[in-house]
């Protein structure tokens, strides 16, 4: 696809396919267009030329909330949690598309809405909160959490959507070795247990090379390489633009 803002060509001729059930990495120097790519896939930007397809269907004209309904989830580079709520409420919002409560049921609460809420609560506790080991903080307001835990909560919120495709925008940015290893483990678990297709934007090369089965490299909005981690790390164009030669 092609995407530009005014005079800035954010993406030029980026074209790749993320295979179902695999982890695909998107790397490149800052300003390469990785987040713009994600924003286009999420539906915030409409590409000037080209299209976005989900499981064979063209979704280029769908709004972001409809794409979520199809099973597309995403985390953000700068953490987009809702600061007015607790961890639990944030994660419950992940279940929004799967609940069917309408306004009248909501106003009444007792009855259909309550049942749906309790079911959601149970499911989230067992499948997301236990899975990500955040049960000790589930009642805390977001503002009280350290950065690393916030990122994990955001992952949990995305997981609560039971997504088929998960876009992770720098999930381990700013984390130390331990936290990164934890997060990588969680991501791998998600792929194994739920069979989710994962797209990953990251700068941490160790992690990317470790867990991704395919990698796409962007530079100045253009796609300069794509392939397995071995292929990409040996690609001279990639080495020059981003990786640097091995010392």
């Amino acid at each position: 696809m092609h995407l530009s803002f005014g005079g800035i060509k954010a993406l030029q001729g980026v074209n790749f396919e993320a295979k179902a059930g695999e982890i695909t990495g998107v790397i490149g120097p800052n300003g390469a267009g990785k987040t713009s790519l994600f924003n286009a896939i999420s539906g915030f930007y409409r590409p000037d030329r080209g299209s976005v397809a989900f499981d064979g269907e063209d979704i280029t004209t769908l709004s972001p909330d409809k794409r979520a309904g199809l099973g597309l989830a995403r985390t953000f580079q700068n953490i987009a949690l809702f600061r007015g709520m607790t961890v639990l409420d944030n994660i419950k919002l992940g279940g929004h598309t799967r609940l069917k409560t309408n306004v009248w049921q909501a106003l009444r609460y007792f009855g259909a809405a309550q049942k749906a809420e309790l079911e959601l609560r149970r499911e989230i506790e067992e499948q997301v909160i236990d899975f990500l080991e955040i049960d000790h903080i589930r009642k805390y307001p977001i503002t009280m959490l350290p950065y690393g835990l916030q990122k994990r909560v955001e992952l949990g919120r995305a997981l609560a959507m039971r997504p088929r495709v998960l876009l992770l925008d720098e999930p381990v940015a700013g984390m130390n070795r331990e936290e990164t290893a934890d997060m990588a483990r969680f991501i791998l678990d998600v792929q194994e247990q739920f069979g989710t297709t994962i797209l990953l934007v990251e700068h941490d090369m160790h992690m990317v090379m470790d867990i991704c089965s395919r990698i796409v490299v962007l530079n100045f909005g253009q796609q300069i390489a794509s392939g397995t981690p071995e292929e990409v790390s040996n690609n001279p164009a990639v080495i020059e633009a981003y990786l640097g030669a091995a010392a």
Partner: protein
């Protein structure tokens, strides 16, 4: 002092009244209300009725501004629509629908009309951000009031002179005393407060808060901004319309000047003073907004006697006091009285231990 509040089931954990003190407070308040309705003195019943009507409207504003983060400076228009609609429908259907059933027809109709206009007014909110929305709602307020006052429609609306209102008749029981009306207002008020709290416990309320905090993040979770913003407008307009309907039933006559800009600003001020985005906020806010002018009236009467000159000074003084109150809260305690109450309760909870 509460040491720990541990529950053994998710259902228990999800309850709102999750400890004995909260339960005592709520049930006790309901009991107090019932006793007050039966035995309270007439003047206090009047004041409490004013509070009740205003409360319903402010709860509506809380849904829109407190929970969804959309600012409206014109919701007084929906109160007006509710009041006039219920009266006009009552007059139109006088021969057709038996008096005992009339409120059950005209009130829902009036509320629905208010909600529909609410959706119309809310349409700009989809494309414009906070500031623009505030002015757009302001504009809508002026337009609605103008239409009510305009001579062209006077045969239905009474124009500048106003309309006489009907007495509600619930299946034969005529509520022709203020006390009986207060009973109705209290019940409706409680139910609407409860309904608003219920919203927050479901995905609808959460979606509102999500839109307030970070709308693109809400979209990514599948929340259609269009649908939910309009829903928020419709709900808040409906609440205001309901308050308007009760207002019309309570007072013998309604005039367009009762619903002007000042009302809209009062609603928002009550919300801010009481505490935005929390269930009890509107309650605190309404108590203050009704009590302060009353207190000034009493003080003034005591100090200045009954001269006409004093009367002229009283209204502007009330205005100034109101503005000063709002500004003070914004400067010193932007989260409202609710925050102050929270602090007190936390300190009480910790007692006898000191802070920290």
């Amino acid at each position: 002092m509460i040491n720990a509040n541990l529950k053994s089931s998710y259902a228990a954990d999800e309850r709102v009244l999750n400890n004995r003190y909260k339960q005592a407070f709520v049930y006790g308040s309901i009991l107090a209300l019932v006793l007050f309705t039966l035995f309270g003195n007439d003047y206090l019943i009047l004041i409490a009725s004013q509070m009740g009507i205003l409360l319903i409207a402010v709860v509506g504003i809380n849904i829109l501004t407190g929970y969804t983060g959309l600012v409206s400076l014109g919701h007084g228009a929906f109160v007006a629509i509710g009041a006039y609609a219920v009266t006009i429908f009552g007059n139109l259907g006088a021969g057709v629908i038996p008096a005992g059933l009339m409120p059950f027809v005209s009130v829902p109709l009036a509320v629905a009309l208010a909600a529909a206009v609410g959706v119309l007014v809310g349409l700009p909110s989809l494309r414009v951000k906070g500031l623009y929305l505030a002015v757009a709602t302001l504009a809508a307020n002026f337009i609605v009031i103008f239409l009510i006052e305009e001579d062209l429609f006077a045969p239905w609306t009474g124009g500048m002179v106003g309309l006489n209102t009907n007495v509600p008749n619930l299946l034969g029981w005529e509520l022709d005393t203020k006390r009986e009306m207060f009973g109705l207002i209290a019940v409706v008020g409680l139910v609407s407060l409860l309904a608003a709290q219920n919203l927050i416990r479901t995905r609808v309320g959460r979606a509102f808060i999500a839109i307030r905090d970070r709308d693109y993040s809400a979209e990514i979770l599948g929340i259609s901004l269009l649908r939910y913003k309009l829903m928020s407008f419709a709900l808040s307009a409906a609440y205001c319309g309901l308050a308007g309907a009760l207002f019309a039933y309570f007072y013998a006559r309604i005039l367009p000047e009762q619903f002007e800009l000042a009302l809209s600003l009062n609603l928002v001020a009550a919300l801010i003073i009481g505490g935005m985005g929390r269930t009890m906020g509107p309650v605190f806010g309404v108590i203050i907004v009704v009590m302060v002018p009353e207190v000034i009236k009493v003080l003034f009467g005591a100090l200045a006697g009954d001269s006409a000159g004093a009367g002229q000074l009283r209204a502007p003084l009330q205005q100034i006091a109101f503005g000063v109150l709002l500004v003070l809260f914004l400067l010193k305690e932007p989260l409202g009285i609710n925050q102050i109450v929270d602090r007190i309760l936390r300190a009480a909870n910790r007692w006898p231990f000191a802070r920290g």
